[in-house]
Amino acid sequence: MFASARVVIAIPVLFATATAIVVAEERVEFNRDIRPILSENCLYCHGFDETHREAGLRLDTFDGATASDAIVPSNPQASEVLLRIASDDPDTVMPPPATEKHLTEVQRELIRRWIQQGAEYQEHWAWKHLDRPSVPEDKRGPRTGSAAIDAFLEAQWKSKGVAPVDFATPREQLRRLSFDLRGLPPTADEVASFESSPSDEAFLKFRDRWMSELAYAEHQAVRWLDLVRWADTSGFVSDEPIASGAYRAWIIEAIRNNMPFDEFSTEQLAGDLLPDPSDSQLTASGYNRIVNTNCEAGAIEAEQLYKLKGEHVRAVGTVWLGLTTGCAECHDHKFDPILAKDYYRLAAFFDDLVEAGVYTPGDRREPLHYVYHDPARSQRDQELVSQIKALRVEIAAKADDGLSDWEAQALADLKNKDSRSDFVWIPAQLPAARVIEGEFAATDIEGKTARQTTAAKGTLVRHHAAELMTGFVNQASQKTDKEKDAYFVDMWFDENDRPEMIGVQISHGDYGRLGWRTANFETYYWGNDTSGTLDQVQPWSEPGRVKRLGELPKENGWVRLRVPFDQLVGTVSGQAFESVGMAWLHTGGRVLWGDSGFELRRDKTTSLLLGEAAIRKWWETPTNRQVFQSRFSYVVTSLNTKANDRDELQNEVIRDAFCEQAQPELMQSLRELESELFTMRSDAMPVLVSKQAEQRKTTRLLHRGDYQDTTGPLVGAAVPEFLGNPISKDNPNRLDLARWLFAKENPLTARVFVNRLWQQFYGHGISDSLEDSGTQGTWPSDPALLDWLACEFRDGGWDRDHMVRLMTSTQAYRLSSKPSKELAQLDPNNQTFARQSRFRLPAENIRDTSLRVAGLLRTTTEVPTQSFFPYQPSPYWTSSDKVMFGSRHMLWDTSGERTQYQRSLYTFWKRQNIHPTMLAFDAPTRQECTAQRNITNTPGQALALLNDPIFVEAARVFATQLVGDTAITDNERIENAFQLALQRSPSIDETTVLIELLTRQRTHYLEHPSDAMSLVSIGQALPPRADIAPEVAAWTAVARAILNLHEFLNRS
C-alpha cells in the first residue's frame, strides 16, 4: 500500500517543490501537502466562490467536504472524492477533462493517505494568529537576536540532513553587505582592511557605518517605490508628469530616519487625517495619489472611478496584506476566502479622497499641497487659505434676492451687440495664476495699482502670468470687428527713464494650460530691441512669431497699447490655440504696468466676465473632463439654458456667479488674497496629497465588476471578513485602516514585510511568493522562522533597521553562495538557506556602480525632489509618438552635468516608457505594484552595457583615471582597474586576456587618432587631451570589458 510513497522517496530532490517530500510514515499536512493540490485542481469549482460552485460542493472546508460524504474522514474507500479522482471514465473523473487539469499518481496517493489519517484541515499559515515561536535550543542554551535566526536555520539543516557551506571570503562578504545595504560596492581599501582583520566586530562596524549613509536609504527605498508603483507620470495614454517627486523624497527621508514601519505606513495611507498634519505628513499621503489616472476624452467617469478604486484595493493587498485582492473585483476570490464584497468594502475606505475619474490632459491633478523652503511662507499660506475659505463662505451666503434681476441683466448683456467694452483679463494686481515668471514690484502711480519693472540699458526684462483664475480665451471666437477688437495693455511711461523697446506677448495652450512650444507664444513690440533678444530663439519666443508694431508712443504717463486682431501673427497650422496668459517685456528703462485685457463687443466681454466663477469653483477641485474643459463658458451655457431645464450644477454655478458679481467689495478682497497666495505658490513646490472631499463618493458591490449594473447594494468601508478581526467602529476611515493593519491581531502585515526583507538579504523569501501570501502562494520553507521574525518586527516597534541589523548579523548571512555538491543535488533551490544566494544586481545598481567606479557618481546629502533625464537613444522619446502632445508636451531635456550622474533611482520614470536600460535590466514600469522583480539575462542587456553612452562614458572616464598614473606598467594598471571595479587582483590569465586586448586596441587607436578622440569624447564629462586620446581609447576598451563582466554585475 505504500508503493507510490516509495516512488516519492526515490526522488533525489528534497525541497524542490512546495509539496516536497513526504516520507511514508510521516503525517500528511493539509497546509503543506493537500491545500496546494486542492487549490490548483479543485477549488476553482468547489471552493470559496459561491456563485461558481458546482454541485453545491465545497472542498475548502472540513464541513463542506464532509457534509455530503465527498470526504469521509479515515475512510478513503467511502470518500466520493477519491473515487472521482481515480476514475477513468471521462464523465465522472475529476477534474473534468475539459479543464485540462489532472492529478498525478503521487497527488492521488497523498489525498488518500490524508483522508486515511483523518482529513484534518488546517488554518492557512499566513492568517494564523501570530505568536512568537520558541527558538530551537541546543547545548549552547537559549539564543536571542541574530543567533536565534541561526538556531532556526541550524535546526532546519539538521532535520533535513544537510550541511551548510563554508563562509564566503571576506571580500565576498563585504561586497555582499555593501550591495545589499547601499546598492554600491565597497572600496578596495575597505575590502583590504576587512581582509586583514575579518572579525565580526569589523563586519558590523562597516554595516553600521553604511546604514548611516544616505545611499542606504536610497537603495532600500527602491523596493518601496516598486511596491507602491511610484512614477513621474500618470500612466495612461499621454502619460503626463505628476507632482510626485516630493513623495519619493519623503520615502527616502523616512527610511533614512528609520521611521517605524507603522508610522511610515500610516502617514502614507492617511497622513492628511492625522491631527494638524505637517508638510511631511501631507507629502506622505501622496501615496494615495500616484495611482494610474486617465485623461482620454471618451473615458467614462463612472467607470474610471471604479478603476481608481481598483488601484487602491490592489495596492493595499500587495503592499501590506500579501493578498491578491484584485482577484475579487468580479467575483468572490477563487482560492482565498476574499469575497467580492470585501473588495468593494476595501475600496470604500478611499471614497473620501478628492479625485476625478477622467482628467483633462495636462491636469495638475489637484489637490496639491505647496511646500516652501521658508516656514514663514508655509505659515502665511495657511493663513491665506483659511481667510479665503472664510471669505468665500461669506460671499456664498448672500441671499437670493436680486438674483432674477441680475440674471435678466446678464442675459440682456449677453445679447448686446450694439456697444463695446473692456474685459480686464489680467488686472494690474495679478489674479490667481498657476504660472508666474519674472520679477516685478507692486506699486501705485497716480492713484492706480501697477507692477513696476526696470531694465538696464540694452537688456530685456520679461514677466509672464498664465493659467489664470480669470480664464482662457479662444481669441478667434471673440472677433466681431477686426480693427476695433484688440488686446490692450495699460502702462505708464517714466519720462526720465524711458524704455528702448516695449512689448507684449500672448501665451497659448490647450485646455487652459500653457503649452511648451515656441509656437505657443506670439510677441508684439514697439521701439527697438537693442538687446537683440527677440531676434533669437528663446524657450518662450521665436523670431518668426515676433512682430514690430511701430515706434514707441511719444507720450509719458499712462498710455494704452493696443494689438488689434487684424495685426495678429497667425496661429500655427494644426494647433488649436487658446490664449492662456500674457507676458510683458521691455528693453531698458522703467515701466509700470496696469491692466491688460481685451477690447470687444459687449456681448463678448459679458461672456468672458462670467467665466471666473466657474474657474474658481474648480480651481482646486478636479472634476470630470467634460465639465472641466468647458468650464470657462459653463456659466454662460447655464444662463442660456431655460430655467426649467437647468440641472443642479447649472443652478449652482449661476448662483456662484451672481454672489460674486453682486458683491464687488468682498470680491476685491478675495482677489487680493488669492493674488498673494498664488504669487507665493508660483515659487513653491507642488505636491500631490490626499484630501477628504466634502462629499464622499459611493461604492456599490458590482455584479461581475460591471459599473453599469447599479443593482448591487451600496457598501461601507470594512476589512476582509475572513480574517476575523473587523474594525469595531462605525464608518471607519483610512486612518482606521492603517491602524488595523498594525494591530496586534492582524498577522499579515508583519509576516509579509519580514518575508520581503529576507528576500533582500538572502536572495529569495522564506515564502517564495512575495506578492501572495494567500493559499496559492508558496508554503514557507520555515514557518517558525518567519513567525519569529514577524514577532520580532511587530513587538520591537516596527523597527526596520533593527530587522536589517538582525538579518545581516547572522552566521548564515555570511555563508558562501557556492553550493556544495551535496546541496546542489539535495536543495537546488536553496530552500534551507544552507548557503547564500547569488543574483544579478538590480538595474539601478549596475548603472550606479559603473558611475561610482569611474568616479562620476554624484551623491549628495540632500534628497532630490526632481528626476533627471539620462542620455537616451534618440528615437526613443524625442521623435516618436510616445511624446506627450498638445499642452501636455514635454521635451526630453537631457540633464546636464550637474544631475546626469545622479543615482539611477532618480531617473525620470515614465510609466509607458521607462528608460530602455532600466527596462532591459528588469526594472518594473510601475504601472502595477511589484513585490519582486524578475531577473533575466538577455542580449538586450549586453547591448545596453556595451553601447548605452552612459556606460561608455563611465568606461572612458575610468580609463582616463587609469592612464593618469604614468609611472606604472600596464600590468599594474590592470591591477588598479580590478581593484577599483572588483576589489581584487586579477589572475594571471585575466591579465593576459586584457593585455592582449589592450595591445591590439592601442595599435588601432594610434593609427586612428580621430576614432580615439570620438570614443573618448562620448558623454558630457571633459574629454582628455588629444595627445593622450589614443592611449585613453585603448584603455577604454579594457575598462568596458571590466564593466561588462558577469562578476561586476552580480552579488554573490
Binding site: P875, T925, A942, L943, V993
Partner: protein
Amino acid sequence: MMRHTSSLDVTRRHFFARSATGIGVAALGSMLNPMIASATPGLDAFPDHPPKAKRVIYLYMSGGPSQFESFDDKPVLRELNGKPIPKSLTAGVKLAFLQYEALKCFGTDVGFKKCGGSGQSISNLFPYLQKLADEMCVVRTLQTDQVNHDPAHTFMNTGFGIPGRPSMGSWLSYGLGSEAADLPDFVVMRSGPLDQPIPTTAWHNGFLPGKHQGVEFYGSAQPLNFLASPEGVSPIMQRETIRSIESLNQLHYNDSADQEILTRINQYELAFQMQTSVPDLADFSSESLATQELYGVSGEPNGSFASNCLMARRMAERGVRFIQLYHTGWDHHGGVVKGVTDRAKDVDQGCAALISDLKQRGMLEDTLVIWGGEFGRTPMSQGGSGRDHHTKSGALWMAGGGVKAGTSYGETDDFGFTAAIDPFHVHDFHATVLHLLGINHKRLTYRHQGFNFRLTNVHGNVVKQVLG
C-alpha cells in the same frame, strides 16, 4: 530554458583545459561555435497539435479603424442617414464620446465592391486589397470589453483590461520559443501620424520573463536601441572587446561553475551578432526591383507602413515568431471618410504587397497575417461626420496561416451595431490564433501569484469556421 548552454559549456571547457596559457583574443575567433546563438526552444508541450501557422504578422490599426468605411457595408445606414438608431440596440452599451450626444444613423458614401470569386464586400478606399479578397477571411463581428484606447489596446493584446499581463506575442515566445538565431521572437514596429501614443503595455511581457517582451524596432537603418557600437569603435574593436569579456567570464565560470555565466556569454555573442544582423535586416538593397516596386519602397527603410511590411517579411524569413506593425491615426471622431481615406492610402498597398509577396515565396501558407484595431466604431455619427469608439462590432481580417481564404465570418445586424450571428470576441480571437499556431489556449499557462494564468483568462473558444 537555455538548454543549448551545455554544448557551449563543453566547448569552452575543452578549450581552456587545452590552453592553460596564451588565452589569446585572436585565438578566440576560432571558438565561435555555430550553436552559440541558435534558436531557443519553448515549452516541450507545444505545439500540442500540428500547427498551421508558424509565425504571425499582425497589422495593427491603432485608434480603432471604422468598419463602415472598410469592410462592413450597411445600406440600411445610408437609407436612414440622420435618423435615430433604435434605442433597443443601444440601451446599456458603453459609449465613449456619444455618452453626451443624440444617437443617429450615419451611412457612408465611400462605395463598396463585391470582390473576387468569393464576392467579399470591400470598400473602394482599399483598391489593392480588393484584388486579394480571395486570400482573406473577413470578420465583421469583432467584440471587445473596453471602450477607451488605452485599456482596449491592453485588452486586445493581453486579454485583460488592466496592465500587467503578457501580450499575445510574449505568450507565443514563451510557448513556442524562437526560430530566429539572432533576432528577438517578438518584434514591434510603428508607423503613421503622430497621434495618440500607443501604450507600450501592448507588447509587454507582463509576468513572463523579460526575454519574451516585444522588442521595438525602428523603421530606419539602425532599428534598435543601443544597436550601434560607440563612436570610434569599429566592428573589429567591438568584437575584440566582446571576445575579451567572454574569455574573462569563461575564466570566472571555470572558478564558480555558475550556469548563469554561460548564459551571459551566450547573450554577448548574440548581442554582437545582432549588431550585424539587425542592420542587415534593414538593408533593402538586396531586394529585387520588382519587390521594391510591389511595396513602393527602395533603398533603406523610411519608416512608412509599407517599409515596415517589407521589414516584416524579412523578419519572417529569418524566423521571428510574432511581428506586430502598428499604424496610428485611425481614431476618427470627426471626418471619418477623409480619415479612413488617408489611412487606407497609408496601408493598402503595403498590406496587399505583403500578402502577395509572402504568397509568391510560398510563405503565406504558414504565416498568419492579421489586420485589425483595438475596437470598431459606431454606426451612429459623432458630430455629424465622425464615429465613436465601439465595442459591439468591428472588422478584422486574416490571411494565410491556416485561415479559410475567401470567406467571411460573422454578420452584424442591419445597422452594423452588433453581431446578428457569430460574435467574434477578443478571447475567441486569441484562442483561434493560438490554435492556428498549434497551441490549445487552455494549456498554455504560467503560474504567477499562485494562479495559472492564460492569455484567454477563463474564456475563449476556437472559432472553427475560420479555419481552412
